[in-house]
Symmetry: C2
Subunit: 210 residues, 2 copies
């Protein structure tokens, strides 16, 4: 990366450089100036493609959500036998392999330009797939839509929670017994499965949505 970057590649180069700068300085502690410095270009050059730091950040977030959506789709195509568990494992795998991207997507307040339909479409994709699968499992039951949404919120919460706790600093201080952290994902999927099969979900819907 040096002064030879031409304008066609500048946009891409800015996105890549910004990802590196964010990895170094944190999501909130970086500037367009850092990006320009990394690319050895003028301070004004990144503004040719991005009107503000927030626009550049939103573009990075959009790409993260898009990558994540494609990753989940590919994994769920590959594994049809136990769809829910397959999706859970894929979700956790992505989060563990891409901690910065995961934190950008789900642990960072969005900058204003992020509310763009393009980004939103990918941002809700994982939840939509989950909700749709659950809806199918309920057939034409009364309030099936509400039920599948509540179930999807429960499953997503557990997955998201474990993904972020696994990466948190507290984790190292819990002094868990040997084997516990490694087995926690499997255990959680078993618990979710048995909760879904318990009839408790039907019961709740019957009582709460009349």
């Amino acid at each position: 990366m040096a002064k030879s970057i031409n304008d066609l590649h500048l946009k891409e180069a800015c996105v890549q450089a910004a990802r590196e700068v964010i990895a170094e300085h944190g999501v909130e502690g970086w500037s367009m100036r850092d990006v320009a410095r990394k690319l050895d270009i003028s301070h004004q050059a990144p503004y040719r493609h991005f009107p503000s730091r927030d626009h550049l950040l939103a573009e990075i977030m959009r790409r993260c959500f898009e990558d994540f959506a494609h990753f989940l789709d590919q994994k769920s195509k590959a594994k049809k036998d136990d769809e829910l568990r397959g999706m859970g494992v894929a979700y956790m795998t992505y989060a563990a392999k891409h901690p910065l991207e995961y934190r950008l997507m789900f642990g960072t307040p969005w900058p204003e330009p992020a509310a763009h339909p393009d980004l939103v479409k990918y941002a809700v994709h994982a939840f939509d797939v989950l909700r749709r699968n659950l809806l199918q499992s309920h057939g034409d039951k009364r309030n099936a839509k509400q039920q599948s949404e509540l179930e999807a919120m429960f499953i997503w919460s557990a997955l998201h929670g474990l993904a972020t706790i696994d990466q948190s600093n507290v984790m190292a201080h819990l002094s868990l017994s040997k084997g516990v952290q490694k087995k926690s994902m499997d255990f959680m999927m078993n618990m979710i499965q048995s909760a879904l099969e318990s009839g408790q979900s039907d019961e709740f819907i019957k009582n709460e949505f009349k």
Copy 2:
């Protein structure tokens, strides 16, 4: 707040001002200079009590964890009949009322000085209470320790996940049916309860820890 601040109160004033600055600029986007400016004191003054920005941040985190621990203890004393649900509700209430503090505790990489025993003690408190309660429920079963840790990880993941998703920008774009977001905590606690009572947890331990 002005130049009248004497040294005795300076430490407290720095902590308060830093909390406000963090609320405005984000966890990573603030400086000791911002704190000094807010208090209208010299740039060097905050360094009399905190050797670095990271030390000040660690002190804020320590206080957040301490507050949170005391809050959970008080709530669990108040409600003895359904301890697990009471603790869950208390956890979610705190997260909803103190989003910045919650994010500082569980959504932010710790600065180095945060690994201090004082902070760590409070940071693991909620998990320890949960783990201890679950351990009691298993009596002297084989591998009761591992089982209570796996169950605590599952419960904490679900609570933490829902707390952060509730506050995330994605939430507004999920187009949930009416009533679903409000009922999601209750639904989740029911699902957790029925999973714990299903026998699945005993089964898992029997198969995985021999």
